[in-house]
């Protein structure tokens, strides 16, 4: 059975939802930079690169190494929150349009 399909057909993107070809589709998995930045934030948040002396100074009750980790954790929250809101748009436009029509 194989071989009867053209190369073009194999490469077709089925970005068709509900019969409407969508524009502005954003999917996080498609952008490698999203995941590279995430890994950098995660790796920097784990304290494996500190010398033993990095306990001092104590900042807001956290030793230096933990304080850096806290900062990276807040960055992580912000980053993930940003990604959810701005880098994810697949069926939203279509759904909201239909929603508007129903109302």
């Amino acid at each position: 059975m194989g071989g009867v399909y053209s190369k073009e057909l194999l490469q077709t993107n089925y970005n068709n939802f509900g019969g409407v070809i969508m524009k502005n589709v954003k999917e996080p998995i498609k952008k490698p930079w999203i995941w590279m930045v995430m890994i950098v934030i995660l790796v920097l948040g784990v304290p494996w690169y500190f010398p033993e002396s990095a306990v001092y100074p104590i900042i807001f009750g956290f030793p230096l190494w933990a304080f850096v980790s806290v900062i990276m954790t807040v960055v992580l929250s912000w980053y993930l929150s940003y990604l959810c809101k701005h880098e994810w748009n697949i069926v939203e436009d279509e759904e909201e349009r239909q929603n508007g029509e129903v109302q």
């Binding site: 059975m1 589709v25 304290p47 030793p63 933990a66 993930l80 940003y82 809101k85 994810w88």
Partner: protein, 502 residues
């Protein structure tokens, strides 16, 4: 959690209030359904996914209350106390779950709406069309969820017994709250579960906030002095963590980030969202919640190092009780809020248990009964079978909780380690059309077996790396190499591409 200043009958009262509230939500869900004709009881998606119509408040809180159990509070404070500052890891690893969702939820949501998925196995069936993959995944999920439920039942018993200082014994507590849970769940399905989660989530958040404020009052408001105290008296708890702990930290990020996102009940919450916009908003808010949940619990553990020095392992498990007791001793307002918190902790356990139970029932209804035993059955019959089997499972788990088997107890411990093994079928299967069924099956089986053997033989980690993560790496390797080795015809590739296309 003995000898609390607020334990006894005031504890009993607050628990009764919570129980009545939850039952009230169940009755409300039932009546509002009858009135609006949304057919919660008549259709599978109505009962198990709230008609795929959860709005922002309900979806956010059901994600929240399901993810954070009472164990998160009680157990994590003890870990913070014992481990010190390195326990901060519990905050990023709860946050990265949202990163785990971003790996698959956007596409899965769209596909679930179009193809009307009800359970995680519906997706696997849709993508791989393989009895072997579907059955193995269902088996792993039912097993993992069953053990998870068992853990929650034990936690309900211990929590209530502690809160009421033994006024309500362990067994009665479990039976009472299981009945409450089953009643509201039978009445309102996912809708009742989600709306009770709103109450449960809010009480947990408020209670934790007051506990933290109380902690600051107890230490005189100087968190910095706590650090100095620890540096002098318990320097190992503030030192830069050794490599083994850092490896453990990173492997927890992977284990929890991937594992908790593919929890069956987490996946079903993706299916239940009313719209993509609401799902996105809920998850973007969830990304901040660990800071005010596990972050606060971490702070309580740290502060306790100064307030309750020298607790051993058993003693540290009582930490939240001791701490709440001290905070309650500050006076009327604090007393009342700690009472709410303890009700909230019990409620948080129940809110996790009910989600797990509902998910388990849905798999029985859809993936076992509906797919293999009686495919032609009407939805009402499938729901009924799910409810009854759910009851039998609970009865069995209660029996286990009261009579823990002397041997093979470890099979009741495996949760995360095996649940995480379904992740490649989702995360790779959604995007890679070459991924084929046999490598997925063998990968899942080998990963689960390796993680299981490591747990059973007492090797939970190797150099800080968890068995679940090592099993997952093996699983992914088999999936990838196996799929390259298996030849796949153009026709099948097109079929797979269509199955996953947006």
């Amino acid at each position: 959690m003995n000898d609390l200043t607020f334990s006894g009958w005031s504890g009993v009262t607050i628990l009764l209030v919570y129980a009545l509230l939850m039952l009230g939500v169940g009755v409300w869900s039932y009546l509002s359904d009858k009135k609006s004709g949304t057919n919660i009881q008549e259709t599978m998606s109505g009962y198990y996914l709230a008609g795929k119509n959860l709005g922002l408040v309900a979806l956010f809180f059901t994600l929240y209350a399901t993810q954070y159990s009472g164990n998160t509070v009680v157990g994590y404070a003890a870990s913070g106390y014992r481990m010190g500052y390195a326990w901060w890891m519990s905050v990023p690893y709860m946050i990265i779950i949202i990163g785990g969702y971003l790996l698959f939820a956007p596409r899965l949501y769209a596909l679930a709406k179009r193809h009307e998925f009800l359970t995680p196995t519906d997706w696997l069936e849709h993508r791989f069309n393989s009895k072997a993959v579907s059955l193995l995944a269902t088996f792993f999920m039912v097993w993992g969820l069953g053990n998870y439920l068992l853990e929650q039942l034990v936690a309900i018993g211990q929590g209530v017994q502690g809160l009421t200082a033994g006024t309500i014994p362990y067994q009665y507590a479990v039976i009472f709250f299981v009945i409450v849970m089953v009643v509201y769940e039978w009445l309102g399905g996912m809708k009742a579960v989600a709306f009770t989660d709103v109450i449960q989530g809010i009480s947990l958040l408020v209670g934790l906030a007051v506990m933290l404020i109380g902690g600051f009052v107890l230490t005189g408001g100087h968190f910095g002095e706590v650090a100095n105290y620890i540096a002098t008296n318990a320097p190992e708890k503030i030192a830069v963590p050794p490599m083994k702990v850092n490896n453990q930290w990173f492997s927890m990020l992977i284990l929890v980030g991937v594992g908790a996102a593919v929890y069956p009940h987490a996946i079903q919450r993706i299916y239940s969202a009313k719209s993509e916009r609401i799902l996105k908003k809920s998850l973007s808010r969830m990304a901040w919640m660990p800071l005010v949940t596990t972050g606060v619990v971490f702070a309580i553990g740290i502060i306790s190092i100064q307030i309750f020095p020298g607790l051993d392992k058993m003693g540290s498990e009582q930490l939240v009780g001791l701490f709440a007791n001290k905070v309650a001793g500050l006076g009327g307002f604090y007393y009342f809020m700690m009472l709410l918190l303890f009700g909230g902790i019990v409620a948080a356990v129940i809110s996790t248990a009910d989600s797990v139970l509902l998910s388990l029932q849905s798999m029985v209804s859809q993936d076992i009964y509906g797919r293999y035993i009686n495919p032609g059955a009407p939805d009402t019959k499938k729901i009924k079978v799910g409810k009854i089997v759910g009851l039998i499972v609970i009865a069995f788990l209660i029996y286990i909780a009261w009579n823990p088997p002397g041997t093979l107890f470890e099979i009741f411990v495996l949760k995360f380690e095996i649940l995480i093994q379904i992740a490649p079928a989702f995360m790779l299967g959604l995007y890679w059309k070459r991924l084929s069924k046999w490598p997925v099956f063998i990968g899942m089986l080998s990963g689960g077996a390796l993680a299981g053997i490591m747990t059973w033989t007492g090797h939970k980690t190797i150099a800080g790396w968890y068995g679940g993560v090592i099993g997952l790496v093996l699983n992914i390797t088999i999936c990838v190499i196996g799929s390259y080795l298996v030849s796949m015809g153009a026709e099948e590739q097109i079929k797979n591409q269509k199955a996953t296309a947006l």
